[in-house]
Amino acid sequence: SNYIFDGNNEIHSSFIQRRLRTHEKREMQKEILSILGLPHRPRPHLSHGKYNSAPLFMLDLYNTMSNEEKNEVEGFLDRYKSMFTTHGPSLATLQDNAFLNDADMVMSFVNLAQHDRELSPRRRHHREFRFNLSQIPEGEAVTAAEFRIYKECVSEAFKNETFVISVYQVVQEYEDRDADLFLLESRKLWATDEGWLEFDITATSNLWVMNPRHNLGLQFSVEASSGKTVNPKEAGLIGRDGPHDKQPFMVAFFKVSEVHIRTTR
């Protein structure tokens, strides 16, 4: 056939010797999709191209994994750590979490919040992020999840300044007032710091996977050392209008359950 061929010149098996019929081709494609654990062929809408930060991050991770698979050494943690050398400097220190060692699936999620919504004056510098976690393959359990956002150096405007960056989980939304937020993490950074910031959102991701209606997204705020809120863009944080390869995204690590679910034939 065109798409499955024998690299050996000798005649070994009759099915290799003939071109597959259309329905056979379709069945063969279905079989390969079944091996990959997919009910159908995905149809992604790549309006932003393949070169967004999330696919690039994942491609780096894939290349690192593939190279190291050849050598048959290392754990998943090593692979993940080595990512940071190829994907820009990291400001956060990755803890030696044992769960990363046996993660066997990684998934990145693009930010679905298309526009900066009008929030109240009190939260005018807050930014919203939304991720669709509805298509996680069956039998996968989240072992770790991170929200990643890129920070550029802004030494000229804020010399010797520090910022407090806070990430919140949106707990409840209202039509007539601000949403209820749950603070996930606050971090102090220098204006001169540059690189990817990772915020642990493992518990939140688990909640979203178990109860999709609780997935109301994240909010993000930046405060100067004076306590005054700052526009994230001015603090060097890359948002939707920034370069494609530095767009914020979410990444989650999964462990596959022992039972591999295959469709009945």
């Binding site: 050996n8 995905p42 290349n63 298509q135």
Partner: protein
Amino acid sequence: STNKRRQQNRNRSTQPQEAPRSPSMADYNSSDQKTACRKHELYVSFRELGWQDWIIAPEGYAANYCDGECSFPLNAHMNATNHAIVQTLVHLMNPENVPKPSCAPTKLHAISVLYFDDNSNVILKKYKNMVVRACGCH
């Protein structure tokens, strides 16, 4: 059992002994290298399937497959299991009803696949037992 052995010994002394059946040339020829159990190359191309719009990497993978006969004697075959030896003996005794050992993978490796889902999220997944690294008789 001991009793039977004694009986056999007595028989041997009185009756002409039948020469034990040695493997014929045909048996040896069947384990010829051309038909012997071995790994064959088989490449599954995601590119040829036209799946490049959603599979980012790899372009395909060398799945390979095992093919060939597991015939007496098994020395010529890679990685013959103890069970395969027994299976061969039983096959020789009863070729009509008992098949030869199967040529099957003994070493399988994983591949990683990077792909988009319907929501343009990216999945990096490790699939176990996808690549045949070695074949043997089972």
